[in-house]
Amino acid sequence: MIACGHSNDQMSSCVLDEETFCRCCQLFLEHSHSLCDGWSWQLVKGSEEGYLRKVALGNVRIRTSSNPNQITDQYIQGASSDQRQGRTSPFTPHKENDDDHNDEQYYDDDDGAVCCMQDSRSSGVIQYEYHILYSYSYQTPVLYFRASTLEGRSLSLEEVWDGVHPNYRQRLQHGPWDTITQQEHPLLGQSFFVLHPCRTEEFMRPVLQAALEEHRQVNYVVTWLSVVGPVVGLDVPLSYCTKVPAPSHTSPSPLQPPALQTQPD
């Protein structure tokens, strides 16, 4: 169940249990299939655990270089925050004016920020892979993602940060835990980028409380993804928010008025 409770000291918390997570994902998937937008449920070998997965292709401008250190230097040189304002996010589909930028530096039209392209072998197409897992520790969903060129080169953290919309970048850089970091995927053991889940409860709580007060049910996964997805270039069409129901419960609704609610434990 999704539980929202008030304890004596006015602290409330909204947690998502694993079963409800799975049910939310199931409903999410039903809508996804009707849109054919590429989500699927992956099972972990030898267990009942699973996660949502989506692979997407994007045609973007990315900084490519044969020397990984060069990327960092260019990033630092090229990127002061006012220069980068108005710069197109690499995550949005971009139509190239001409296809060949061999070893050429050029300036962004709008703001004069330097954006360098080398390595003409790079097609500029990036494959993104998104996974939605359940975190036991934080009792929330967590978004894992990775990106690579079609040639198989994994994108670096700098390149991933490039893809975060400037509006989100400052907020994400707030604290060491409020951010995108590279982590080990807990089910696959491979390197992924993760949007840290420790603040999820903070932004979900007002939404869940409001729903509680209005006697509305909420699909936790849909609501959560509509907040975190855009930060990393993952589009969540509006129909998810209008068409995907919350999981129903056979037991009495856990969304009760605060006065009657006890913290399940």
């Binding site: 030898g46 267990s47 934080y138 970091t181 696959l188 053991g189 491979q190």
Partner: protein, 274 residues
Amino acid sequence: MIADDKDVLRDVWFGRIPTCFTLYQDEVTEREAEPFYLLLPRVSYLTLVTDKVKKHFLKVMKAEDVEEIWFEYEGTPLKWHYPIGLLFDLHASNTSLPWSITVHFKNFPERDLLHCPCNSVIEAHFMSSIKEADALKHKSQVINDMQKKDHKQLWMGLQNDKFDQFWAINRKLMEYPTEEGGFRYIPFRIYLTMSDRPFIQKLFRPISPDGHTHTLGDLLKEVYPVAIANEAKRYQVVIHGIEPLLETPLQWLSEHLSHPDNFLHISVIPAPSD
């Protein structure tokens, strides 16, 4: 905590593994690279304690032949973000010492290893684990009530191998309301060698609803029964290089045998056949 228990904390902190670092044979060198010997702290991280190793091999290499350092044991890339003692128990515990690690400066295995460009990445990872452990133990209340300088002290204690400095703060993370009898949930990970899946992590309470104390055996039975199946000792359950009795209370293990990141890292490995 009684005097004997404090000794356990020290023994865990000061555990060392004698290691021999050898440069990968295909690395390009200007002259022959000698192996480098080092005692590694079980509770630390490879990239935090191998500056000397790196310096040693860089002496015989040209700058253009050097990219990010990474370590490998018998073909398996070693995950720097796992504590050193865990890596040893998982991969090499029933082999002879010193532990032989191969050093690489090229062909970083992007899919398998996390990048570690500087110490602040290690610090971020370490603090993230501590925070996650406290989310499980105390709903993050203790860690969130601490000041930034306390967080820093935990990291500095680990980085500089200062037991007292570390435990001055960490002891707060090991407290719990007396009426509760223990933490809310135990932070643990069970690492498996014979699986694609790197580890198992679930919610597990130290005390059952009817007040009975859960043991290590209870945990395994619930979360990974294969480890203690009736077939005669096919697996060893190892923490910090030892096999604790399955009757050991889980709460005690969490307070005394956790790593500095506040997690119990448990290896389940095939028992040696002899």
